[in-house]
Point group: C2
Chain length 449, copies 2
C-alpha cells in the first residue's frame, strides 16, 4: 500500500487499496467481492487488510473470524459500542413516537435545555440536523446570511464534511476535491515544529492576512471555521489558547467564529467543548459524531444574534433533524457522560496516555513529538536520518502493525505521519496500558525495518 495514496491516486491516510491484492481470509474476500458489486465506487475501507466486524461492545470490536480488537480510534461510540442505555432509550422511543419538528413535541425541548446548559450563556439557541456535514453546511448558510458576505477562512489541511459546501472547506479530501471560490486557507499550524510562544501569534497573523486577502478581493469575511483540535491538520492541541487571537481578528473584521466541535466536543478533550481550552467564545458551534453514540444527530448551537437574520428571513427544516428517537439517544449519552463522570475520566486517562507516549518518545528517536488534549492524542513519526522530517511510510506500517496486533488506531496530518489515537471515552486505565504496551512494541519493531 502506498502511504497516502489510496485507490486511483486519491489521498487518504490508512486506506485499503484493492490493487495491492492483500492476502485476506476467504470469507473477507467474498464480502469484498459482494460489496464491490453493489456499493458506489466512492467507498473506501481502512487498513492494508480490511477489518470485517461482526459485533462491538464497550471499547472492543469482534471480527468475523472471532478476533477481538481494542478500539483506540472511534470517537462516535463515545460512551462505548452498543451501550445498553442508548439501546433502551431508542427502543422505548421507537415504540411511542418518531416524528418531525413541525409538530410540537417535548423531548427536543427538554434535551435542548440540558444541552445548552453545557455552553456559555450567549450560546443560547440550537438547531438540529443529522450529520456533522449538514451542521457545518447550515452554519455556513447562517454566517453568510448574517454577514451578507461570502468569504470563509479555513486551515490548510482542514476537513469539515462532504456536502458541496462542506467539501469546499475540506482540502484534506485531496487535490481532486476543489475548494470554494470564496475560501482562503491559512497554513496548518505545526505545533511540533514551532516554538510554543509563537504558535498563537503565527496563527493570529495568518488569519489576519487571510482577512485582508478576502477584503481585498471584495468577498469580505463571513466566518472562520476551525476544528477545535485541528484533527485533520495532525491533531494540534498546544498551547491551549492559540486560537483565541484568530477569533478576535475575525470578529473585529465583522465575521463570525465557527467552532467545529464534531471531533472535539462532548468531553473528548476533558471539558465539554474544545473551544473552552482556547478561552474563546464562538458565534456558532457545530456538533456531531458522538452526540447520539452512533444514532445520526448533529446540531448548530449559537448566539441568537448570529442566527436571527437567517431564521427570520429564510427558515430551516430537516425532516429527521432532532427527531424524538435521535434525541432519546442523545439524552442517554448526556446521562452517561454525567453519571459516569466521563469528562474527568477523559482528563485522567488522557494524561495517562500522554505520559505513556512521552515514555515511548524518550526510548525511540523516530517518535519526534507527542501531544494531546484529553483523549485525543497524536504522535509524529520521523525519518531515521532526520526524525523531524515526517515519515508517512513508518506511520502506515505502525497503523497496520497495530491492527495486526489487535489495536485500532489511524494516521492523520498533512504528511499523514501523525498517529491518531482517539478511543471511545469508555476506555479504561487497563485499556490505556494495553494500547501503550502494544504501541511501544510495534513502533520499536517497525522503526527497525
Amino acid at each position: 500500500m502506498s502511504d497516502s495514496l489510496g485507490a486511483a491516486g486519491v489521498h487518504m491516510a490508512n486506506g485499503f487499496d484493492p490493487r495491492e491484492g492483500a492476502d485476506v481470509a476467504p470469507e473477507v474476500a467474498r464480502l469484498l467481492q459482494r460489496r464491490d458489486r453493489v456499493l458506489g465506487p466512492a467507498y473506501r475501507l481502512f487498513y492494508e487488510k480490511p477489518v470485517a466486524v461482526r459485533e462491538a461492545h464497550g471499547a472492543r470490536l469482534t471480527g468475523h473470524d472471532g478476533r477481538v480488537y481494542l478500539d483506540a480510534y472511534n470517537n462516535v461510540p463515545v460512551i462505548g459500542h452498543s451501550h445498553p442505555k442508548v439501546r433502551q432509550a431508542v427502543a422505548e422511543q421507537l415504540g411511542r413516537l418518531n416524528t418531525h419538528t413541525r409538530y410540537l413535541t417535548e423531548p427536543i425541548i427538554e434535551y435542548s435545555e440540558r444541552l445548552l446548559a453545557t455552553f456559555p450563556d450567549p450560546l443560547s439557541r440550537v438547531t438540529y440536523a443529522c450529520t456533522g456535514s449538514e451542521a457545518v453546511d447550515l452554519a455556513i448558510r447562517i454566517a453568510r446570511h448574517r454577514t451578507g458576505r461570502s468569504g470563509i477562512i479555513i486551515s490548510q489541511h482542514a476537513y469539515h464534511g462532504t456536502t458541496v459546501a462542506a467539501a469546499q472547506l475540506s482540502p484534506s479530501l485531496g487535490p481532486n476535491n476543489r475548494l470554494g471560490e470564496h475560501v482562503v486557507t491559512v497554513p496548518s499550524v505545526d505545533t511540533a515544529r514551532t516554538p510554543v510562544s509563537e504558535v498563537g501569534p503565527r496563527m493570529t497573523a495568518s488569519v489576519r492576512r487571510a482577512v485582508e486577502e478576502l477584503e481585498g478581493r471584495g468577498d469580505g469575511v463571513a466566518a472562520v471555521i476551525f476544528d477545535s483540535v485541528l484533527s485533520s491538520d495532525g491533531v494540534q492541541t498546544e498551547p491551549a489558547g492559540f486560537l483565541r487571537g484568530a477569533a478576535e481578528v475575525v470578529r473585529a473584521a465583522g465575521g463570525l467564529y465557527i467552532a467545529d466541535e464534531v471531533q472535539a466536543g462532548f468531553g473528548r478533550t476533558g471539558g465539554w467543548w474544545g473551544f473552552e481550552r482556547h478561552g474563546l467564545l464562538p458565534d456558532l458551534a457545530v456538533l456531531g459524531k458522538p452526540m447520539g453514540n452512533g444514532m445520526p444527530i448533529s446540531a448548530v448551537v449559537g448566539t441568537l444574534d448570529a442566527q436571527e437574520r437567517f431564521g427570520s428571513e429564510v427558515r430551516y427544516f430537516n425532516t429527521f433533524g432532532g427527531n424524538p428517537v435521535s434525541i432519546a439517544a442523545a439524552a442517554a449519552v448526556l446521562d452517561v457522560l454525567e453519571e459516569e463522570g466521563l469528562l474527568a475520566h477523559a482528563r485522567h486517562t488522557g494524561d495517562r496516555l500522554l505520559a505513556g507516549l512521552r515514555r515511548i518518545m524518550a526510548d525511540n528517536e523516530r517518535v519526534f513529538h507527542v501531544r494531546g488534549a484529553g483523549m485525543f492524542l497524536a504522535a509524529d513519526l520521523g525519518q531515521p536520518d532526520d526524525p523531524s522530517a515526517p515519515d508517512p511510510r513508518l506511520a502506515t506500517r505502525v497503523v497496520n502493525g497495530m491492527r495486526e496486533a489487535g489495536v485500532l488506531i489511524s494516521a492523520s496530518g498533512p504528511a499523514a505521519a501523525s498517529l491518531k489515537i482517539r478511543p471511545p471515552l469508555a476506555f479504561t486505565e487497563d485499556d490505556a496500558d494495553e494500547l501503550l504496551e502494544v504501541l511501544e512494541k510495534v513502533v520499536a519493531t517497525e522503526s527497525r525495518q
Copy 2:
C-alpha cells in the same frame, strides 16, 4: 394567519404564525414558550394552532390533550408510526454493532442487494447518506464531476433540500433563499390547466430551452433534477410519461437525469419508483424520507457510468451513512412493504381516495381539479367567482378545518392552493373513507365562508 406568508414574511404553506396569537391550550402555550427559548429561530410549526404530539401508532397520532388525529400527511412512517418490526430490528442491531463503512460489515451488503433488485438493471450501485438533502447534494457533486459542467435544470417551484447546494435548487423555500448561479428553472407544469396531450410536449420544450440557455451561457448542462411527483409544484402526476421527453433532451445534451424519489419512492405511487410511471431510466435516483420509516437514512442509486469518475477521483465518506442500525430499519421497511403487499395496497387505496375526491369535486365547484398517483393525491381549490383561479385562503381554511376535525393534511403548489394528501401506506380503506367523509364536510363548510 396569512395564507402563504409565515413569520417575518417567509413563504410557507400551512405555517404557524406566533404573531397571530392563536388561542391554544395552556399546556401548549407553555411548550411553545420553552421551545422559543432554546430552539433556533429558523424553526417553523404547522397549523394555525400547532399540534402537540405525545405518541403515534399506525396512521394515528395522539395529542398532548389525548385527542387522536388521523394522519393523512406523513410519508416518512410509510409502514405506520412506531412499527414494531422497525423497533425490534433497531433494538437488536443497537445491541450488537453500529459502526461505519470503513470497516467491512455484512448488513449493508445484504440490504444493498435487496434494494438494487427493485431497480432496473443499469441502476446497479448505491451510496448511502442520512437525509434526502445529503443525497441530493451528493447527486449534484457526482453529476458535475461526471460531466465537467455546472448547469442544473429544476422546476420553478421545486424543493430538493436544505444544504447550501440543495437549497440553491429549491425555489419553493421563498424569495429570501437565493438560487444557484448555474441553476435554470422551467415553468411548473400545471396539469390542471393544461390539455393532457400538451403536458409532455410543453415540459420537453421547456427543458430544451433551459438546455439552450445553459449552453449559451457556457455553463453546459450537468443534470436535470425532477421530483418524480413534482410535489412542491402542486403534485403533478398526469399523464404518466410526461417527464420522459425531458430526460431524452438532457441526455442528448450530455447531461444526467436525476430522479428525486425522496417523496415518490418506496411504493408511494403504487410502484417501487416514481420514475417508472414516466417510462424513463434515470442516471441517478435519490432516495430518502420513508426509507427507514423515520430512522435517518438516504441514498443515491445510479449507473456505474454516472458514478465512476467521482468515485475514483474523489471519494465519499458519511460517518452515519449506511450504518448497521439505519440499515436494519431500512431492511425491516422492505420486509413489511413486501410481506403486506403495500405497493398493491397503495394502488387500491389510492384509487379509492381518487374516486372519492372526484365525487367531492362533482358536488362542489370550488374543487377545481383532483389528481393522484397511488397514495399521493392533490385537490386544487379555486375562487368562488372563478374556480380555475387558485384560492390559497380557502386551502388554508380547509387544512386547518381538517385539523380541527381530527385529520392531518397540508397544502402545496406555487399558489399554495392545492390540498396535499399523502398518508402513511399503512392507511386502511376505513381510514380512506373517514378522510373523505371529513374532507367533504370541511370543504362544504369552508366553501360557504
